[in-house]
Symmetry: C2
Subunit: 495 residues, 2 copies
Amino acid sequence: FARGRCLLERLGRLVRRGGPACGASHPHPHPHPHPHTLQPQQRRHIFLARDDTRSWLGLGLGAAPLWKRGLASSSSAGAMPALERGAYATLTEEDLDVFRGIVGAANVLTSEEDLAGHNRDWMGKYEGASKLALRPKTTEEVSRVMKHCHERGLAVVPQGGNTGLVGGSVPVFDEVVVSMARMDAVRSIDPLSGVLICQAGCILQNLDDQLQEVGLVMPLDLGAKGSCHIGGNISTNAGGIRYLRYGSLHGSVLGLEVVLANGEVLDVLHSVRKDTTGYDLKQLFIGAEGTLGLVTAAAIHCPPRPLFKNVTFLQCRSFPDVLSTFQRARAELGEILSAFEFLDKESLDLSLRVHTDLKNPLDGGGGADDEEGERPFYIVLETSGSNEAHDNEKLHSFLESAMEADMVTNGAVAQDGSQFQSFWRIREGVPEALTSYKAMYKYDLSIPLQTMYTLVEEIRQRVGDRAYVVGYGHLGDGNLHLNLAADSYSEELLS
Amino acid sequence: FARGRCLLERLGRLVRRGGPACGASHPHPHPHPHPHTLQPQQRRHIFLARDDTRSWLGLGLGAAPLWKRGLASSSSAGAMPALERGAYATLTEEDLDVFRGIVGAANVLTSEEDLAGHNRDWMGKYEGASKLALRPKTTEEVSRVMKHCHERGLAVVPQGGNTGLVGGSVPVFDEVVVSMARMDAVRSIDPLSGVLICQAGCILQNLDDQLQEVGLVMPLDLGAKGSCHIGGNISTNAGGIRYLRYGSLHGSVLGLEVVLANGEVLDVLHSVRKDTTGYDLKQLFIGAEGTLGLVTAAAIHCPPRPLFKNVTFLQCRSFPDVLSTFQRARAELGEILSAFEFLDKESLDLSLRVHTDLKNPLDGGGGADDEEGERPFYIVLETSGSNEAHDNEKLHSFLESAMEADMVTNGAVAQDGSQFQSFWRIREGVPEALTSYKAMYKYDLSIPLQTMYTLVEEIRQRVGDRAYVVGYGHLGDGNLHLNLAADSYSEELLS
């Protein structure tokens, strides 16, 4: 119990003045953000502009994504799966003229320099060969662009912030990139009902900043918030670190405006919180990765903004202890628990090794970390609520009880905005740190909590020295990030 | 400000010992429960067993429900819209033998006595003429029943707790009733991830009782909880009084098992909280009223159960004041606000007139009620949280500030379980009280908050003496119940 005392002494500093208010939360200073990734099954979709509307709404029962169909074929670019280009038309000078007439010459990008950022994902793992990126400003422009592509049989890939980690937002061959970057208008914010209506190209962080002014908060938050678009979040059904608190976009998204493959505009942009009229068509576009249509605008329910936040960095001896801590946090912190992320020791070591400005908040604090042969786990736990004193009291009492039960062996509570930020950066810096390796295999898995970490251990044992294996993720929503990093991509490792 | 003092004195009693803990919340003693109703557009669907699977999944783009198609025709039963029976087969003795072979003779109901409850809705407004109700126990039995009906061309209506107010759960003509009453098994509850998996015929209250034992709560709650089935809740996309806190079933439902019209079983019964694999097909069945398939089982995410609750009964001078109070409650009560219901004076008067055991909690308390010519509004506001002292302090401070700002003119805080229950019964007793009239027109509307009550005032002015008009509902999710009660149904009133 001696170790417990150590934390409790630190906790003495908990009731602080002028701690980080909510708005000051964790900025995301990394130039290359890392959004919540997708499940492996979802990588590589192509927007098949040729298909008619019926098959677009055909629920995908018949239409396998191109990459699956082409798996057995030859051509391959780097680490991408072997694919074959579909029988799509090739761009002509006439097409460019048509597009210039729709979006204006300045928004028809054709130079290699202009296209570089649109052809390549931020990890540099996937690269396409598009000859054209379009930057429409309005839904009508998107509709006219899609109508032309549909008539001409040109393949299209919609692109948001291009922050995805599974190559879904870059072309595979020479698809036309439809970038949503200029569609960044906020149409309305209603402080009373909490409804935000905006274009799909709005950057998540910008939306959250605007909502803050009227006491609201975006119901999702992820590392890429500084660059990712809300349209991309919706199309990939992004979860992120507030999923635990605010739930799925299937609940938060009240309405969508979508341009279908043939240019038709589907307007289900309801802004009432509860709408039970007819079938809920918009749900199909949430997580469809643009394969059913291109999301151009959304109505989103935004909850009241919590006024105060606390972040703690905790250490547990084992994964079962992490699970017990989670269960106790859910029960004791109840309505103020807003994030519960875990990292294994390998993830922590990697993050600290690459981000040299960060250090382990528990260094010198004693605890299991010092014991020989132990491989502890770490938790970033956040609370947010509307009353600072109440929040602090709840957190204090939870930590005391978790240490008394010996679930948590060590821990620290962020004392100011800079600590708040650095605790978060340790966790959020893991994906970025992985890019220090030449080859990465990323898996984003939703599996039952009890068996979650067993998978990491098994993979680690199987690959041995051939790769560095890390496991981390959003425990709150049963979401594990299992990543392998190595010096080169290899078929042997994949198998 | 003198009025304010009055409330604050009552509030002196707020910090109580042994107040109603959460589990003791408001039981629903009315024998005839009243669930959250549907939008008018959704009334009267028939499960068209003859259609093939493709058109069932055809998103309703082409297939209008039967009652719409038959609107211009003749036959009419009481207050029901004029409908014409489709070209469905008629039951034979051979059919009954087949069904006996599937569900057992005891669960094939054919006597008038046994069928009475299945043919009639609880308001007694809609009545069908089914000759057969089946009570399957397993998904396989449902599948076999549907397969037979499909092959024979027999029309089917699925039936849950039959607590609906818009006639969606009773037959129109002689459809086969498939009652889910015996499919009430809880398959599993995982306290760690909060995932409940159960059959569709489980009664909402029973599920909540079982969850309470492991510290979880159902993410929805409505007046009919004592009789309504979770399958019916899902099929009607029920909202209810906790929508404000836990959001839509589109977010809470993790997976479904559905039997399609041809008997095929669609198993999307995922139990992980976040699943982004492929299209989210299950969403289509939420709110589809059984027209796309029959929900047989569900996986539902259940949040940690709050430990303490408070209920207050407040009075405002005007509807704009109700809106201001709502906005302030969202901001100041933040994460502990769990319900915000409003009633107009007409609703309150009606509820108290019929439920003679209830009385106005504000009687004798002074306030605007006593002022001549005023038509005040009333609010039932509930908080729930994990720390009693914190909750009480937040509520106290909110009420003080709302009265100081003169938004709230009077109010009372429930002091014990019986007051807690009676405050809720005033609000929940309105629909039941309406049944004291011979004719009822019920509308359940989702409209922008600002203009919500204007509609009630306009309707009241239009109908004049011909009907008693009440407006009440879930302000938290922008949901207005607008009901007209009269001595008889009349075409004149409807127009």
